[in-house]
């Protein structure tokens, strides 16, 4: 196997075999001067992931040593992420590795795509210049990708294999790799390992903390019902009036409020006047939906799903503008336009001034 190829896709099983064949111990990798470059690139992988959602450029070298050092930067990065052991970092790093792979696959040949796919456990075929993958793998990794474009029914399926454009095929693999890395990390680490990389770990932890802070700033700010889309206004008022709400409605309003940052207790209060209000039950349900604690956090349904569930109501001009595909998108647009109004009041006025006939 060409080492250059492995340096581009260091997560491949063949890459870890290369490492094993060169009998590089973890100890050496983390401290021996020979691997200084791997440690530098490994740290860079993580930093780039945090800053740009990428893991940087692989060296374009035909030199086996350079390539091996690049391959080794991958286990270094994984060790660093595992030592920080932060859920947000794991997700972000996994996504960055996956996105970088997808980017590199854009210029790859079909047989490389097939090889990467099989390595990720995706059964893939190449038939008369068409890439395809087994529909079960397709379903597994596209379930988070909503919309007409990703529906199985709108793909050509032959004998169990879904034909895909190169771009879509790469996108599915991105999902597969990202899920795989998220599942694998954090790895168990010993005190010795943590000791060996403590400086880098401290630096990365600091950046993670800053980034989290920054994300909080980008928050939706104080929750204002005037920015709610009509569907959520309706659901809120139903809850307040104590009208009985369909399950899908409770689910939608709960996920919506939770994403806006409303604490569980406040969401529960919203349901106080429901006729079938049962405090402990409501708390339990809200906790479950919002993933309070360590559980899975559900996201707010998009407009299409709201429509399917019959709770998309009173659509207004903004809903119909074609810009809104998600209730949270509506809220974001309203938040942005009210910010703009505050920042540039005159400009806004100009736009809104009626034109002379």
């Amino acid at each position: 196997m060409e080492t250059h190829h492995l340096s581009r896709y260091p997560f491949l099983k063949a890459a870890s075999e290369l490492v094993r064949a060169n009998s590089v111990s973890l100890d050496d990798l983390l401290s021996h001067p020979a691997y200084e470059e791997s440690r530098r690139r490994g740290k860079q992988r993580v930093l780039d992931a945090l800053n740009d959602l990428k893991v940087g450029q692989a060296p374009s070298s035909a030199d086996d040593v350079t390539n091996l050092l690049e391959v080794l930067s991958y286990p270094v990065a994984r060790v660093l992420v595992s030592c920080v052991a932060d859920e947000f970092l794991v997700r972000r790093y996994a996504l960055a590795e996956a996105k970088t792979m997808n980017e590199r696959l854009e210029t790859a040949d079909f047989d490389v795509m097939i090889e990467v796919a099989e390595d990720l456990g995706v059964s893939a075929h190449l038939e008369s210049d068409m890439l395809s993958m087994h529909f079960c793998d397709f379903l597994r990794y596209t379930s988070g990708l909503r919309g007409k474009d990703w529906k199985l029914v709108n793909h050509e399926m032959r004998k169990g294999y879904v034909l895909l454009s190169k771009k879509k095929f790469g996108r599915v693999l991105e999902q597969a790799l990202s899920e795989r890395i998220e599942m694998e990390l954090p790895l168990p680490v010993t005190d010795d390992i943590i000791g060996a990389v403590s400086k880098d770990v401290a630096e990365i932890s600091e950046i993670v903390a800053q980034l989290r802070e920054k994300m909080r700033d980008q928050d939706f700010g104080e929750i204002t019902i005037t920015k709610f889309p009509p569907c959520m206004k309706k659901l809120t008022s139903m809850a307040e009036k104590g009208e009985n709400m369909p399950h899908a409605g409770r689910f939608a309003i709960t996920t919506f409020l939770s994403t806006l940052g409303m604490p569980v207790d406040d969401i529960v209060k919203t349901f106080f006047s429901s006729p079938d209000f049962d405090n402990s039950m409501t708390v339990y349900q809200v906790r479950h939906i919002t993933g309070d604690g360590m559980g899975k956090r559900y996201s707010c349904p998009e407009c299409a799903t709201m429509r399917t569930n019959g709770i998309c109501v009173d659509m207004d001009d903004l809903c119909r503008s074609g810009r809104i595909r998600h209730p949270l998108g509506y809220y974001r647009v309203k938040t942005m336009s009210s910010k703009r109004r505050k920042d540039e009041p005159e400009k806004e006025q100009k736009v809104e001034a009626p034109r002379p006939a």
């Binding site: 529906k151 199985l152 709108n154 050509e156 399926m157 169990g160």
Partner: protein, 401 residues
């Protein structure tokens, strides 16, 4: 216990004591559930170590309905779902007469033959066709009642989650199918008039050998051409209400373009199929053709399966080789070849129900063909035991002492 319960349970017990019950694959990982003739509750969360334990249970308890889980569990008998340790679930399809329009007014035999047609579509076009499962991957089962089930235990499907299974339902039922992408339009010519520009759009049609819904759409189109070819205007009107917004002249013009002599060796519809383009119909009629084809693809090609059943990864489903407690028929596992000629009322009553005559009182006149024998009459009638089972269980007939 009523006389009817006594009668029915006697012959159910006889069946279970004389029949080898194979039970599902991965037997010890399945949960079982039961309903009874003589008890009001549903018993579930039951696990058995060996098929023989299940058989003993069936003989001693004589349940009315026997179910097992499509799911595999670490501890199938754990009393709460989250304690069971879900390991995966078969992919299950349920086709039931409930989904058939006008089923209420049909006889049982008519209803079942329609469900069978849908099942054949599901199997041949989707499970064996598009999804590429082999005959041995799919366990095909007559439910003993109003429909058929298909179970797939292939490793690939076991771990699929609910919403992924919903996508499969959407696939076989053509839900959210994007027909515009199947018959794509492209600008073929821009005409420049004095007052305005007009773009002519060419409509393409899926090529021969296309897979998935493209293939289904192509076959539907070919089928439609065959039907339209010899239809009189009135027939077209009656058969295709979707064309009602088009004038008679348009329908006739369309037929002329498709089937009329155009001077060459080939007729219009043949050229369409050969060249994968609707451009052999003049622009005046093209929209009507496209409307018609698009409106027919889904109803003809889709298989209407019961969504919640496929979606549910923890469902209990009727066990093959058990008896259906509302008909007395066996839940029969069969091969695809057997399905073509399968007739439940003829083939599904167990041999352990004897021919011995029994008197029953029917509430309404009956006229049925059961195991090839005509069963008819009103009030008190004398019928073979197997027919009496059906009449008592399904038609609420009463035993006559």
């Amino acid at each position: 216990m009523t006389k009817e319960q006594e009668f029915v349970m006697r012959w159910f017990r006889e069946y279970y004591s004389r029949t080898a019950i194979a039970g599902p694959t991965k037997f010890e990982q399945r949960e079982f559930g039961f309903m009874y003739f003589d008890k009001d509750f549903v018993r579930r969360h039951v696990g058995f170590k060996r098929p023989d334990d299940l058989r003993k249970y069936l003989v001693s308890q004589v349940p009315m309905h026997v179910y097992y889980s499509s799911a595999l569990y670490e501890i199938p008998s754990a009393p709460k779902m989250d304690q069971k340790g879900w390991l995966g679930a078969d992919l299950v399809f349920d086709l039931d007469a409930d989904h058939i329009k006008g089923a209420e007014t049909m006889s049982y035999a008519q209803m079942l033959s329609l469900v069978k047609k849908d099942m054949i579509k599901l199997l041949d076009d989707f499970l064996f066709g598009d999804m590429g499962f082999g005959e041995t991957d799919v366990r095909l089962v007559f439910s003993g009642g109003r429909g058929y089930h298909a179970h797939i235990s292939d490793e690939k499907v076991l771990k699929l989650k609910s919403h992924e299974r919903s996508e499969i339902v959407d696939y076989v039922s053509g839900t959210d199918l994007d027909l515009d992408a199947i018959f794509p339009k492209s600008v073929s010519m821009v005409k420049d008039y004095k007052t305005h520009m007009k773009a002519e759009k060419a409509v393409a049609m899926p090529a021969e050998g296309s897979g998935g819904w493209k293939g289904h759409a192509r076959r539907t189109t070919a089928q439609l051409f065959e039907e339209l070819r010899f239809m009189e205007l009135e027939e077209v009107r009656a058969r295709f209400p979707n064309l009602s917004r088009y004038k008679d002249a348009t329908v006739l013009g369309l037929q002329r373009d498709l089937f009329g002599d155009r001077g060459g060796e080939r007729l219009g519809y043949q050229l369409i199929m050969e060249n994968n383009s609707l451009e052999y119909v003049s622009d005046r009629y093209k929209e009507a053709l496209l409307d018609l084809v698009k409106s027919e693809v889904r109803p003809r090609a889709a298989a209407e399966v019961d969504e919640p059943v496929t979606r549910d990864i923890k469902r209990l489903i009727r066990m093959p080789s058990s008896l259906h407690g509302k008909t007395g028929m066996r839940v029969i596992e069969m091969r695809r070849d057997d399905l073509t000629d399968f007739d439940p009322l003829r083939d599904a009553f167990p041999g352990t129900f004897p021919d011995d005559p029994v008197k029953v009182h029917v509430k309404a006149p009956v006229d049925l063909l059961i195991k090839g024998q005509r069963i008819s009459g009103d009030g008190v009638i004398e019928v073979p035991t197997f027919a009496a089972m059906f009449l008592v269980l399904r038609m609420k007939a009463a035993m006559v002492p």
